[in-house]
């Protein structure tokens, strides 16, 4: 192997791009060529040095801020101006599902997260009031996130360094408080942490079930909308199940909730979610979409129990028709 090629191969090997069959001859070359093994060492040193500048996760507030900006920008784009309408039959009968932007559910908390410091000041200085009162952990500790400015003083040893800290915080307060709810809604979208998602969804679902202010908010920012998003998109069966239960009180009055349930009944992977959807939909069979889906499911669902349950639900409908 020529040195020039060997040195290229060293770089490729370091980056896991060297085909296995070339590995052996490279090793043999390195055993006898000092210059090329220096190349390897240099690459290792570079790797080590570059580790001083690791890729860091964007701060939660930057992420939230960016999402909010993006969502605003997307809202300005006419929804159907540029897309070819390729509605499947399913969407045909479900009709126009004007779901509110899912992102907004995540972002309700943003202004609050971004304005964290001011907010904390206000909380600390505001007279306490129940049940909206929340207390936040003291958060002067935290690792340094970035240095934003350095101002040296001429002819002096004094230097002013401006920096930001990554500040872990805790908030404690009533489930009825706006701040706690916002945090839970952020928790509902925590892709990487199923526990947090599950707990958030469960708590907010319970709030809805006991009728604690789960009103529909027209801007799509409310708890109900967040539950709809979880029901549609959460990967975890148990989380979707909990979202489903939280929506129960609104099946009769909110068509979007009904549509989401129908969608779950048709497409959810989990048989228990589909089964639960049938029982929640049974009181509203007067809706022709519900009947249609029950009919489809009663003949097509993989699960015989679910086919029977749908059929049963349809039989009960006979009187209504």
């Amino acid at each position: 192997m020529k040195c020039e090629i060997a040195q290229q191969n060293v770089v490729m090997a370091v980056y896991g791009e060297l085909p296995d069959e070339l590995g052996g001859s490279l090793e043999r070359h390195l055993e006898e060529c000092e210059e090329c093994s220096r190349e390897l060492n240099a690459m290792r040193a570079l790797d080590e040095y570059l580790a001083l500048n690791p890729v860091v996760e964007p701060s939660p507030s930057l992420l939230a801020q960016s999402r909010m900006r993006l969502d605003d920008a997307l809202d300005l784009i006419p929804p159907h101006g540029f897309l070819t309408r390729l509605r499947s039959n399913f969407y045909g009968w479900v009709g126009h599902m004007q779901s509110a932007p899912a992102l907004m559910t995540l972002l309700v908390g943003t202004g609050f997260l971004a304005g964290n410091f001011t907010y904390r000041y206000q909380v600390a200085h505001a007279p306490a009031e129940a049940p909206g009162v929340v207390t936040m952990s003291n958060s002067t500790q935290g690792s340094i996130a970035n240095v934003t400015g350095i101002v040296p003083t001429p002819n002096s040893e004094i230097v002013q360094v401006k920096y930001n800290r990554i500040v872990p915080e805790t908030m404690e307060g009533s489930l009825d408080s706006k701040e706690i709810r916002q945090l839970l809604m952020v928790g509902m979208t925590q892709e990487a942490n199923t526990d947090v998602r599950a707990t958030s969804v469960k708590m907010l679902s319970n709030e809805c079930r006991v009728g604690h202010a789960c009103v529909e908010e027209t801007d799509g920012k409310g708890v109900r909308n967040a539950l709809l998003v979880s029901l549609r998109y959460d990967k975890d069966d148990a989380v979707r199940m909990n979202a489903l239960h939280g929506l129960e009180p609104y099946v009769g009055q909110d068509r979007r909730v009904r549509d989401a349930l129908l969608e779950a009944l048709l497409h959810d992977k989990s048989a228990s979610v589909r089964t639960a959807a049938i029982s929640l939909l049974t009181p509203v069979q007067s809706d022709s979409s519900v009947r249609q889906v029950l009919r489809t499911v009663s003949t097509q669902d993989d699960n015989p129990y679910i086919r029977t349950a749908s059929f049963q639900a349809l039989q009960d409908t006979a009187g209504i028709q």
Partner: protein
């Protein structure tokens, strides 16, 4: 005749042994594009299926589906842009522009590659543009101007004992990071992008080639050139 053959031999051994060791570390951290485990392959396949479902819904006009796609990927988009551009404002701009582009052109998505690859292609091209614009704006990115308009010598700061004094271990790390940033800035925008995608994002050279509308071979050569340049740039820093 080689001098110090004993030292030379041990150096070789370190070198040879470290190859599989590095490969192993690469698969463990998952950032260097080593071999994927079966579980990782399965997870990716599953993710792809879910993505494709979401895209179909989004193409049918479902904004919530597009929002779900955004939520899946926007943190990594922001992370990449932030690291490449080293500036929150620019990263945020790229984040926004990339998803708007994706939204507008979603109807053209043909499921030939993964959504991730498609999106990253948009993101890297935006970053590339931004780097090119900067290059033409700034003559010498390695020197940083201080508040008084004078040149701040980053190297001097490192070797300056006072700058290292408490509480400045973090600061020291930051200065080093800044120095690396300067070295990265010396690369051409294309070299920078290839290096970023390979070294920091651990993408396959084939994917990188695809994203930058070039061949795997070109990407490979560019990566090689970038590492050479970086080593040259950082040689002085390391020996100080």
């Amino acid at each position: 005749m080689r001098r110090g053959s004993v030292a030379g031999a041990s150096l070789l051994r370190i070198g040879v042994e470290s190859l599989p060791a590095m490969a192993k570390a690469a698969t463990q951290t998952g950032t260097r594009g080593g071999k994927l485990t079966q579980a990782q392959i399965d997870a990716r396949a599953q993710q792809r299926i879910e993505d494709d479902d979401l895209i179909r819904e989004a193409q049918a006009g479902e904004r919530t589906a597009f929002d779900a796609l955004v939520r899946r990927y926007d943190q990594s988009v922001l992370r990449l842009a932030l690291h490449m551009l080293g500036n929150e404002q620019d990263a945020q701009d790229v984040h926004q522009e990339a998803f708007i582009k994706a939204y507008r052109h979603l109807a053209n998505f043909r499921f030939e590659c993964s959504f991730y690859t498609w999106l990253y292609r948009i993101v890297t091209n935006l970053c590339l543009d931004q780097l090119r614009r900067r290059k033409s704006r700034r003559e010498d990115p390695a020197t940083v101007l201080d508040a008084n308009g004078g040149e701040m010598d980053l190297m001097a700061n490192i070797s300056d004992e006072r700058a290292m004094a408490n509480p400045a271990r973090e600061l020291e790390r930051k200065v080093m990071a800044e120095q690396i940033g300067c070295a990265l800035d010396k690369l051409t925008p294309r070299e920078r992008t290839v290096f970023e995608l390979k070294h920091y994002q651990g993408l396959k050279l084939r994917t990188i080639g695809e994203m930058l509308s070039t061949t795997e071979e070109t990407a490979k050569n560019t990566l090689f050139r970038a590492t050479r340049k970086l080593r040259e740039q950082l040689k002085t820093a390391r020996s100080s």
